[in-house]
């Protein structure tokens, strides 16, 4: 009732201020985080829309992709055909299982709760043939926590949190929760000595197409300017090493490859790009499981639709961008040094087949570059050119809507941060100075900075 009315009022606040003139200083166009692709919604549907300027032919494909995204895959062989081929080992039954409402998954609330949206990447010493992580010989490059009947799941990960107290410059106390990960129930023997783990939470998906639309030379220039470096990763379709853009360590080159890799790795669904099941040699029951009549499991039209969907999920508009707190928070964000890596404004290039994404002035708050984030966040697992303490600067658009879309605001690569302030306080390494600037700000300034982020 009251909540509904409030949400509705917020929905058009930005537009109302712009439409009816007056108001304090501030640039109303800053609401358009995705340029002409921006949509307007502050409800749990906020991440479900196609780009505002998408043509109707692409919208038809987008909606098919939306259906596949929400589809539960089932064990093969099954009738009706078309949604079977699950696993044999898997992490989730559907894309939306880990990315609810195209949003961000939450880490387990307790040590006993199963991992769903938090994926454990695995590797051993060395690199694969293309310079990427060297997969575990028995378990591959991620831990699949579930399996179809008659096939063993790989193992059960757990997380426990320890509170780490700290103090702001003005004496106010805070506490960060430091995670510790363990795995038991390993079905194919113990891990190798020196096994490397990297827990990674399923992020929100909006705006990925715009990030892919940033010209490569722009990404390289941004990385150079921010003191970071780009990742160079394997492109399966072209069998070449190319610029990495997606994933917590920028280890995927494109929305297309990220989509098909997640289908195979997380759900066990094969595609034209990855036509074989993920069954490392010791997993004989996995390899012997009955196949689907649909080979590959993901049909050509559905695959194409999934890529259009992933490329076209629109970024919602920022809220209250002309409010004094936003204007002040944004200035503090820049003064503290956050904007060095979380780059506020970028212009996209021309993308073949995606006119809606082309030549857009966007506000992603990322440089797509890798930066050393210090030992507190390090996972110790190299990923192509990313070291064990480097992470890609994540975009910040849409994060203020996570409470509406996903009923939580757990941030960073494994969801350890309970909101923006904790996420900032975890920053170290190249971000240490910016973090300290935030930590030592007066409370009113810290609050304004967080208000700004909540408005994105």
């Amino acid at each position: 009732m009251v909540r509904g009315a409030l949400v509705a009022a917020l929905a058009c606040a930005a537009v109302a201020v712009a439409g009816c003139g007056g108001g304090p200083a501030g640039d109303p166009s800053e609401a358009l985080l995705g340029g002409d692709t921006t949509i307007f919604d502050v409800t749990d549907e906020a991440f479900n829309y196609p780009d505002h300027n998408l043509d109707d032919a692409a919208r038809a494909l987008f909606q098919i992709g939306d259906g596949v995204f929400n589809r539960n895959w089932v064990t093969a062989p099954a009738t009706p055909q078309g949604n079977d081929g699950l696993g044999p080992t898997f992490n989730a039954l559907s894309c939306s299982g880990c990315h609810p409402n195209n949003g961000r998954g939450a880490p387990p609330a307790t040590g006993d709760e199963p991992f769903l949206a938090l994926l454990m990447r695995l590797s051993i010493d060395g690199a694969d043939a293309h310079g990427g992580p060297n997969p575990d010989p028995a378990y591959g490059d991620q831990l699949e926590t579930q399996a179809i009947l008659g096939v063993p799941a790989e193992g059960t990960p757990h997380v426990t949190y320890t509170e780490q107290p700290g103090t702001y410059g003005d004496g106010e106390a805070y506490s960060l929760r430091a995670p510790a990960y363990s795995v038991d129930g390993l079905a194919f023997g113990p891990f190798a000595a020196g096994e490397r783990f990297s827990p990674r939470v399923a992020p929100e998906l909006v705006g990925a197409g715009l990030l892919q639309a940033i010209p490569e030379e722009t990404v390289r220039a941004l990385a150079a300017a921010s003191g970071g470096h780009v990742n160079e990763v394997w492109d399966t379709a072209t069998a070449t090493t190319v610029l990495g853009r997606f994933g917590w360590k920028a280890n995927q080159p494109s929305v297309e490859q990220q989509t098909y890799a997640a289908f195979r790795g997380d759900i066990g669904i094969t595609s034209s790009l990855y036509p074989t099941k993920n069954c490392p040699p010791p997993q004989t029951a996995c390899a012997a499981a009955p196949p689907s009549m649909s080979q590959p499991n993901l049909g050509a039209l559905e695959g194409q639709a999934m890529v259009v969907h992933g490329m076209s999920l629109a970024v919602p508009a920022a809220r209250d961008v002309t409010a004094p707190a936003f204007v002040r928070g944004e200035a503090l964000f820049t003064q503290a040094g956050c904007a060095t890596c979380h780059v506020p404004k970028v212009v996209t290039g021309v993308v073949d087949g995606y006119p809606a994404l082309s030549n857009q002035t966007i506000r992603p708050f990322t440089d797509l570059a890798l930066h050393d984030m210090g030992p507190g966040l390090a996972d110790g697992r190299p990923d192509y050119l990313a070291t064990g303490s480097e992470w890609r600067t994540p975009p910040l658009w849409g994060l203020g809507l996570l409470p509406a879309v996903n009923d939580h605001q757990f941030l960073l690569h494994d969801g350890r941060a309970r909101g923006f302030a904790e996420a900032i306080l975890w920053h170290g390494g190249q971000a240490e100075a910016a973090k300290e600037n935030f930590r030592t700000m007066p409370k009113a300034d810290r609050d304004a900075l967080v208000t700004f982020l909540q408005s994105l």
């Binding site: 009732m1 009251v2 909540r3 509904g4 009315a5 949400v7 509705a8 009022a9 929905a11 058009c12 537009v15 109302a16 439409g19 009816c20 003139g21 949509i39 307007f40 919604d41 502050v42 409800t43 749990d44 549907e45 829309y49 196609p50 505002h52 109707d56 919208r59 038809a60 987008f62 909606q63 098919i64 939306d66 259906g67 929400n70 589809r71 539960n72 009738t79 009706p80 078309g82 949604n83 989730a92 039954l93 559907s94 939306s96 299982g97 880990c98 609810p100 409402n101 769903l116 039209l301 559905e302 629109a314």
Partner: protein, 372 residues
């Protein structure tokens, strides 16, 4: 009071034509209240039928519950035009009408005789509306345990073959010692899920009562008229283009997959889409049942007569074409090219297609932003 009214009036004046817009917003709120109240009455009838069936399961009582379920759907379809702007239905939509559902999460399915919450007394010892509400959407939106389509699955059961008729769950699934297992828990589940739906929709109807100053409707009509109009258009446009045209009709036609078809257990999707287009038509005209007043058409007509006439013609044609599809819809969408049913689906899609561009023009003309 006087000062705030004056301020409101001044603010509204800055946005132009407040009286006409305000009248449309008020008419819309009255229509949606009537629509929600009508739906609540249909749900009360469903609740009575479920009570009667659960008390004494019989073939006739089962058929009566199925019939009562079907009878709720057209009016609910009309009401869906209030989605997509954070209104009352969006607060509960996830547990009211979300789909597709995962049958295995609720009850047994082919090859999985012990599946689902019903057959899991260890983890779900109590089956109350509150327990079902908290299990809904756990681990993803397909893990639906509540709402219209959970009830539909409980009343009809699985449909392993798309070309056959509706699901054929035997009523003896609810008879102690009958078919399947945990019949008592299935009765409890059916009743609890019905009660939750009744209570969710009663809350929505209360929120559309403009005479209650704390209701959503009261807040909507007290807003700047243009802001309220923008919300109305966001719901109306999204329901027309993204939801009805693309998701509910074009998707299953292109993919030929029953998973993409809404009321697949009961084979009643024709009712859903007819209700949807009726609700879209209602908001355009400002009509619902015996209520008649200014609608979006009047606002557009005052600014651009030709555009209003274009929309009127296109929307009427689309409504006729959607209603001309021979039921059941899921048979029509997979009918071979050249058959009447296939051609009627194609004709309906062709009739709906131009609405997107026209609605974008309408939004521009009215000076509001929509998400299509």
């Amino acid at each position: 009071m006087r000062a705030s009214l004056l301020a409101l009036a001044l603010a509204a004046a800055g946005c132009g034509a407040p009286d006409a817009t305000s009248a449309v917003v008020k008419q819309y709120a009255a229509m949606m209240r009537a629509n929600a109240v009508d739906e609540s009455a249909k749900l009360a009838a469903l609740s009575d039928a479920v009570d009667a069936f659960v008390a004494a399961p019989s073939p006739d009582a089962f058929a009566a519950a199925q019939s009562a379920w079907l009878d709720t759907r057209f009016i609910y379809g009309e009401f869906e035009v209030t989605r997509f702007y954070g209104g009352p239905i969006d607060e509960v939509q996830g547990r009211v009408n979300e789909w597709p559902i995962d049958e295995n999460f609720i009850d047994y399915t082919t090859g999985n005789p012990t599946g689902g919450i019903i057959n899991d007394p260890q983890h779900y010892p109590q089956l109350t509306p509150a327990v079902l509400a908290s299990s809904d959407e756990r681990g993803g939106i397909e893990n639906l345990s509540t709402g219209f389509h959970a009830l539909e699955f409980l009343l009809w059961g699985q449909r392993p073959d798309q070309t056959a008729g509706p699901g054929e769950r035997p009523y003896t699934d609810y008879v102690d010692g009958g078919t399947a297992t945990n019949q008592d828990r299935r009765r409890t589940y059916l009743k609890a899920a019905t009660d939750l739906l009744v209570s969710d929709l009663a809350g929505v109807a209360a929120d559309w009562d403009v005479t209650d100053a704390t209701s959503y409707a009261a807040g909507l009509v007290a807003q700047k008229p243009k802001d309220a109009l923008e919300l109305i258009l966001r719901g109306w446009s999204n329901m027309t283009v993204s939801e009805l045209y693309f998701e509910r009709m074009n998707d299953p036609f292109l993919t030929q997959n029953r998973k993409d078809e809404e009321s697949c257990f009961s084979e009643s999707t024709s009712i859903d889409i007819s209700g949807d287009i009726e609700g879209i038509y209602n908001v355009w005209l400002g009509h619902y049942g015996s209520l008649s007043g200014p609608g979006l058409m009047n606002l557009v007509d005052a600014k651009d007569h030709a555009l209003a006439m274009t929309m009127m013609a296109q929307l009427s044609a689309a409504r006729d074409a959607v209603n001309a599809i021979p039921p059941p819809f899921d048979h029509a969408v997979i009918a071979p090219a050249g058959t009447d049913a296939h051609d009627k689906v194609q004709a309906a899609l062709d009739a709906l297609a131009p609405l997107a561009a026209t609605i974008r023009q309408i939004a521009t003309t009215l000076g509001v932003t929509v998400n299509i």
